[in-house]
Symmetry: C2
Subunit: 205 residues, 2 copies
């Protein structure tokens, strides 16, 4: 029985047929997120992603181009929950935008499923200029500049970035460096302190 | 002439004599700072540090113990300018502590000589739990808990950490990720916006 099965070649699964293309693309993207999260930007290779996804590396290059472009696609997936609520955060009244933004960002960091890819993005961006460039572009164009447009003030972009800095800094000390008592503090206690600061950066004269 | 000289063994410089001990210790420390800065925690080895310092790796272990302990000593050197002004920042009147602290921290980030080791510490701490533990311990015991003691409020440690979070976040977005316009903004403009936030976290009821 087993002798009838052709021997499977190690490390090089057969090339996926074109009928499976969307499924293969999704598998590659999922594998890329996992590889970048686990190993960081530097130690992740296109070949490793291909292997984890069970496809040929040529297919990874075909769909996603360079490693930097592959990283960008993986980061966009990690960012997508943030982007999907972005417009509702920005559409509400301006005097509550600080709290809505703070609550939304903390929601993602508090949820282990969304925290993991965010952590991976931060870790990679801190250590690799290519990853930093991707993060910078997405953060600026997809989030900060849109907040700024909603504010409609001459220094709106700087305001959005200083507000983001407060949120990024809390995330760094609470979830990455894990300084106590901040790391174990009740999220509501932190939101109560941070939301007015975010609001102040955004709208205070 | 050359035949009289004993052949020098490659990669293993002769052990430093004990009379040179302080000089050798300083050389190791300088080499460690350089190696951790350039390569990051993961890629730095005790053997690499020894080679860069021109000593035997046994001497590195003799003076500094494990790689984590070596990193701690190197970080303490990177931290020492901050620590050396810490007490004067904390001794002044409490209603100006936000501006003094903000100005001091920005001073170190704006100066390329002190920025480089700070960047190295942040990069290592974000990616390695051993490095994060060192950074966490130093940041908490040497800076944050001392600020908290100066405040003498029941939630003083959390206050100090939220203030630090604002400073850490600005450093991340300005010096590490380099988001514009924050990365090129006039430091005085940033200090004017950040100092009241730091002060508010520390002392506002």
């Amino acid at each position: 029985m087993t002798s009838a099965t052709p021997p499977r070649r190690r490390g090089r699964p057969p090339r996926t047929k074109s009928a499976d293309a969307p499924a293969a693309r999704d598998r590659i993207l999922a594998a890329a997120r996992e590889e970048f999260s686990e190993r960081g930007y530097d130690k992740t290779s296109m070949r490793g992603i291909a292997k984890a996804a069970g496809v040929d590396s040529a297919l990874v290059h075909h769909y996603f181009g360079t490693k930097e472009q592959m990283f960008e696609a993986a980061v966009e997936v990690a960012f997508s929950p943030v982007l999907s609520v972005r417009d509702s955060v920005l559409e509400g009244p301006l005097d509550g935008v600080g709290e809505r933004l703070t609550r939304t960002i903390f929601g993602f960091w508090e949820n282990p499923t969304t925290r993991k890819p965010l952590l991976a993005v931060v870790r990679s961006a801190v250590n690799h200029e290519a990853a930093a460039a991707v993060f910078r572009r997405l953060l600026a164009t997809q989030l900060l500049y849109r907040i700024a447009r909603r504010l409609d003030l001459p220094d709106a972009e700087l305001r959005a970035e200083l507000a983001a800095a407060q949120l990024v800094g809390v995330a760094m000390l609470r979830y990455v460096i894990k300084v106590e008592p901040l790391a174990s503090a009740d999220p509501e206690q932190i939101i109560a302190r941070i939301a007015p600061v975010v609001q102040g950066h955004l709208t205070l004269p």
